[in-house]
Amino acid sequence: MPPSSLTLFSVSPGSPEPLYRQLMDQIRRLVAGGQLAPGDDLPSVRDLAQSLTLNPMTVSKAYGLLEMEGVLQRRRGLGMQVAGAQGKPALDVAARLELLRPILERAALEARQLELDSNFVLELFQQIFEEKT
């Protein structure tokens, strides 16, 4: 991974959000947005701690929790990388939503043809969604 990738990360002290959480959210966003792809290496704990001027324990804590969540995976002797497609879905929310679009467009068309108010349709969708999960 080129060293320029260190510039992807930043944290801001002074917020109610602890720094390790800021870092976790940021990595999640970078993965969801595709700036970090499955298999990409993350900077070493030491490099990232030095670059962000953070206690290395804060960086390891963020990495460790993201590993437990399945966002990152530890490769023996090679440090952390973004988890691959066999783990969590590699597609972000927007991309996954996009996959749903055709069927929703069809449902919307039929709802309009039936002259149904969108609120009722959404309520029904909510009900169906919650029943099935």
Partner: protein, 288 residues
């Protein structure tokens, strides 16, 4: 549990009629990085001096590495680095002479680190210390404290006279050269952003005692400002409160540490509003 590096019991110190430390108990296990917070005049420097055996306490005891601080042996002394708030350096010496002098007292001395810091921090080794700026003197005091790779580092407002670049340099040195070696670090500072970057634990000194010591992450995650009508605020138990309640028109607010269950419970009370707080808010209200 790691062995205790600092162990303080019942420490008392008066200046004239004014009691500064009032039976203070405190323990710091090996490898912790602790930020000490308190208002000006709360007694942070006095606490550090008494802790190190540099100032005689009126009562109580401080043990460092299991030895009484006032009669610390040379071996234990060589394991400690200390940067006082006002660096008392020998002003007529040059930095080079000063460090050569101190070097004689320590069995271990990291010449490579000293030379590296001198170059990176741009301190003229051969100019009288009296001609250095306040910031340069502070850097020199830090180099002196780090030169023997101490296992316990105590820093009293180490960055007070450093500019932002100097502070950043110092933090990088702490991260790379000190924390990486698993050194126990205790430091006081009013620059909370630095503290947040470095400290894993915080301790508040107030009214002569350590009133709160906890993991910084946990403190930010559990502390909320709860506001609402005074009678409804009574639902926040005294044990949960960490600040003196502030009263406003028709109500008030208080900082409370709440477990996730309690937080969920409080959120269901319509009259109460709940918001997270920053370390600065915490400092202002907890030390009041």
């Amino acid at each position: 549990m790691n062995p205790l590096v600092i162990e303080i019991a019942g420490l008392e110190k008066h200046f004239g009629k004014q009691a500064v430390l009032k039976g203070l108990d405190w323990q710091i296990p090996a490898g912790k990085v602790v930020g000490l917070l308190g208002r000006n005049g709360a007694g942070k420097s006095t606490l550090m001096e008494c802790m190190l055996g540099l100032r005689e306490a009126d009562a109580g005891a401080s043990h460092l590495f299991g030895e009484p601080a006032h009669s610390l042996g040379d071996a234990s002394r060589a394991r400690i680095g200390y940067v006082p708030q006002q660096a008392d350096l020998f002003e007529w010496l040059t930095p080079r002479q000063l460090l050569d002098y101190f070097r004689a007292f320590y069995p271990r001395w990291n010449t490579e680190k000293v030379e590296g810091l001198f170059s990176r921090w741009q301190i003229d080794r051969d100019k009288a210390i009296s001609t250095l700026s306040g910031g340069q003197k502070q850097r020199l005091a830090i180099i002196r404290a780090l030169a023997h790779d101490p296992e316990l580092l105590i820093l009293d407002e180490p960055v007070a006279s450093l500019d932002p670049v100097g502070r950043r340099d110092f933090l990088h040195e702490l991260i790379d050269g000190v924390i990486e070696r698993n050194t126990t670090v205790l430091f006081s500072t009013h620059i909370l952003s630095d503290l947040e970057r470095i400290a894993m634990e915080v301790a508040f000194l107030k009214e002569g005692r350590i009133t709160l010591q906890t993991s910084l992450d946990e403190l930010l995650e559990t502390t909320r400002r709860v506001s609402g009508p005074s009678e409804v605020l009574l639902q926040i138990a005294p044990a949960e409160r960490i600040s003196v309640p502030q009263t406003m028109q028709g109500g008030g607010s208080v900082l409370a540490r709440l477990s996730p269950e309690r937080l969920a419970q409080i959120r269901t009370v319509p009259a109460l509003s709940v918001e997270p707080v920053s370390l600065e808010d915490l400092f202002v209200e907890v030390t009041q």
